[in-house]
């Protein structure tokens, strides 16, 4: 009798142990990766999560680099039912963490030693008060120069490595009747060019002082005036229809030979690859003029939620995001490079490998800086002022000095 009872008890206990509802928990993920390569990439994450036995509830909200998603997020946090994981980046993570609504990932982070896997610049962004609250899925390089080799050959030019060289080549192109720079007149694109120029003309230290620390001296310096001068020059190199153009249409211009260059992050590569173009032959990828590396990174932040299922899901998802396997699959699909070290390089294309090498080099030389335009460096409030001003300058005939003066005012006002 006793042995039977024990056996029955053991059987029940065993059954109980091996029957969790979802082995890896449940997550509801709010994101705005709703098309093309991005949707595919996030689909991979979902597949991997579900393979582990988890349940993934998808909450996509498209539009404008996450604007509508952020609205939805705010409403949900205020209503008291935040999503389990949200696509958040940069100082935005800190802002939410300040409000005390993010969950603490340190258990997973210390176990897997994230500090050793991520570049210090990036690790800082993923932490709040020294503890991890977000997991980075990739690293995008912002300061790429994409070029059409045929058009360059036409004017007998090489890919420029300084801004003077760039201007010279651009002048030659203009004379030959070719649009030198393909650009989309949207605030974030204007700001992208702006920060690339700032890094190229002023170097990493200037960039940090001006665009990250917002030091008024750096912002009102002569170097900054020069940056605006170059922006004015670039304005002369874009075609008439640039206003409001989407970035991928500008990339198409380079692809189709309507323009020679585009200054854009590495997601432009995805466009080329999707159209079947081969790097090195049909298009060229080179670091934009300057010595440095502007970093942009997508990540998922985890909110403080209740329920075993969800908390378990968060831990599994965080660990999954930082795993080699995921980082490889995701980044090959999305066109960026892994956020962590130690991922095999075989499946990445030449431009990506160049990016990885440059990343290592920049980290060592302390020339790795977070992107201002892509919300990695400063809070949205100040970033917004930058964007407003840079766009206005680009679209009007404001003088560089006036731009600098207004910039200093604007930043003071936003702080």
């Amino acid at each position: 009798m006793k042995s039977l009872a024990t056996a029955a008890l053991a059987a029940v206990a065993f059954a109980g142990l091996s029957l969790p509802a979802s082995a890896a928990g449940t997550v509801e993920v709010l994101h705005w990766w709703t098309s093309g390569g991005e949707a595919k990439a996030v689909g991979e994450l979902k597949a991997m999560f579900e393979e582990q036995g988890g349940t993934w509830i998808d909450s996509p909200v498209a539009g404008g680099g996450g604007d509508a998603a952020m609205t939805a997020l705010r409403a949900r946090v205020v209503a008291g039912n935040p999503p389990t994981a949200v696509q958040l980046k940069g100082p935005g993570i800190q802002e939410w963490a300040e409000e005390g609504v993010l969950a603490d990932l340190d258990e997973v982070a210390s176990e897997e030693e994230w500090d050793a896997l991520l570049p210090p610049v990036l690790a800082e962004i993923m932490k709040h008060d020294g503890e991890y609250v977000a997991a980075a899925v990739n690293i995008h390089r912002v300061d790429w120069l994409w070029a059409n080799p045929e058009l360059l050959a036409q004017v007998d030019a090489e890919v420029p490595t300084t801004w003077e060289e760039f201007n010279a080549v651009a002048d030659k192109l203009k004379e030959a009747g070719v649009t030198p720079l393909a650009h989309g007149g949207q605030p974030w694109q204007d700001a992208t060019i702006f920060e690339v120029v700032a890094l190229g003309l002023g170097g990493a230290d200037f960039y940090r002082k001006a665009l990250v620390e917002l030091d008024p001296d750096a912002l009102s310096s002569d170097t900054m005036v020069q940056v605006f001068d170059q922006m004015r020059r670039l304005r002369g190199y874009v075609d008439d229809g640039f206003s409001g153009r989407d970035w991928n249409l500008a990339t198409a211009m380079v692809m189709n030979g309507e323009a020679a260059f585009q200054i854009m992050g590495d997601w432009a590569k995805g466009e080329f690859l999707a159209a079947g173009k081969v790097p090195g032959e049909d298009f060229l990828c080179a670091p934009a003029p300057g010595n440095g590396y502007i970093l942009n990174s997508d990540s998922f932040a985890f909110f403080d939620v209740e329920g075993e299922e969800k908390i378990e899901g968060q831990k599994v998802l965080a660990s999954l995001i930082m795993s080699e396997e995921f980082q490889e699959i995701f980044n090959v699909a999305k066109g960026s490079i892994p956020a962590r070290i130690g991922v095999p390089r075989d499946n990445f294309d030449d431009c990506a490998i160049k990016s990885m090498d440059d990343l290592a080099g920049a980290t060592e030389a302390n020339a790795l800086v977070p992107s201002m335009a892509h919300e990695m460096a400063i809070p949205r409030s100040q970033r917004g002022e930058f964007l407003d001003l840079v766009t206005e300058h680009f679209n009007s005939d404001m003088s560089s000095q006036e731009a600098v003066d207004r910039l200093v005012e604007a930043i003071a006002r936003a702080s």
């Binding site: 498209a62 404008g64 609205t71 939805a72 205020v78 008291g80 991928n248």
Partner: protein, 289 residues
């Protein structure tokens, strides 16, 4: 109408027609662009002009928009979201219309103290921009346990629809002679008695106007939909936005246009078929002021 059979009159009429046709073109052009684009293939869109007729008509964008276009990670097209919108719109329209009718009746046929003020206060609610109430409403819904649910969204639309529905019914009932109500009261009928047996049967025009207006506003709402529902419960406007506002990859203009037409079809059909009753309802005084 006074008829004058002179040359001047005939020219005037011709001129009249010309102006009407001109405006008709102004109104029709975007619809033409939408339909034409939704029937073209992507290459034709890239190479051709916006206002050209499709060379090779294809319905593939429509099929894609309905069943297989990707909204985020799910690729089920717009079909599931149409149902969400329907489930949300019908109660919202019904309740807000009913309340509007009751309010309109109470405020016009019963001179109680403060009825004018109450009406004015309700009316001002028409003017509040929705972004302003987004966050406090989110808080409220959270407190009520309705966050992220369809009933929560229905509540929001009812609350903000009352101002308009009351306005429409109030204006209509103002034009209804008091003596009818008076006679019914003498006969011994109470508030609800008069309402259901006298007022309601004659308010069909007002009901039509109100229902059409509310249906359009609520069906087409985006802001409340995106803020107060999560993924699977999204109304079709949110799904449409996810489809067309994606920022990377090839923009499939034809699928986008097909999706936009699908999302707008219910309201379009309402206006096309019920437009006549809409005007009739308006002339019966629903918005005479």
């Amino acid at each position: 109408m006074v008829r004058q059979r002179t040359l001047a009159s005939a020219l005037l009429r011709a001129g009249l027609f010309a102006i009407l046709i001109l405006f008709a073109l102004y109104y029709l052009m975007p619809l033409f662009v939408m339909i034409a684009t939704s029937l073209k293939s992507l290459e034709e869109i890239r190479s051709g002009s916006l206002l050209a007729m499709p060379r090779d008509v294809t319905f593939e964008p429509w099929a894609k928009a309905w069943t297989s276009a990707c909204v985020g990670v799910q690729c089920d097209g717009l079909r599931p979201y149409i149902l969400n919108s329907v489930v949300m719109v019908i109660p919202a329209v019904a309740i807000s219309t009913a309340l509007g009718a009751l309010n309109g009746f109470a405020l016009t046929k019963f001179r109680f103290r403060g009825s004018g003020t109450i009406f004015a206060l309700l009316l001002l609610g028409c003017f509040i921009p929705f972004q302003v109430v987004l966050l406090p409403m989110a808080r409220m819904l959270g407190l009520m346990g309705l966050a992220g649910t369809v009933p929560g969204l229905v509540l929001v639309h009812v609350v903000y629809g009352i101002a308009f529905t009351t306005l429409f019914f109030r204006n209509f009932f103002v034009g209804v002679s008091d003596s009818i109500v008076h006679a019914a009261k003498i006969d011994g009928a109470g508030f609800f008695g008069i309402f259901f047996r006298v007022m309601l049967p004659m308010s069909l025009p007002a009901i039509v106007v109100t229902v059409i207006w509310q249906f359009t506003q609520i069906w087409n709402d985006f802001l409340f939909g995106v803020a107060f529902t999560a993924s699977v419960a999204n109304p079709v406007t949110v799904a449409l936005n996810n489809l067309v506002a994606s920022s990377t990859g090839v923009k499939e203009y034809n699928v986008d246009m097909a999706a936009a037409i699908i999302a707008g079809l219910p309201t379009l059909l309402v206006y096309i078929f019920a437009g006549k009753y809409f005007i009739r309802g308006l002339s019966a005084g629903a918005v005479k002021g």
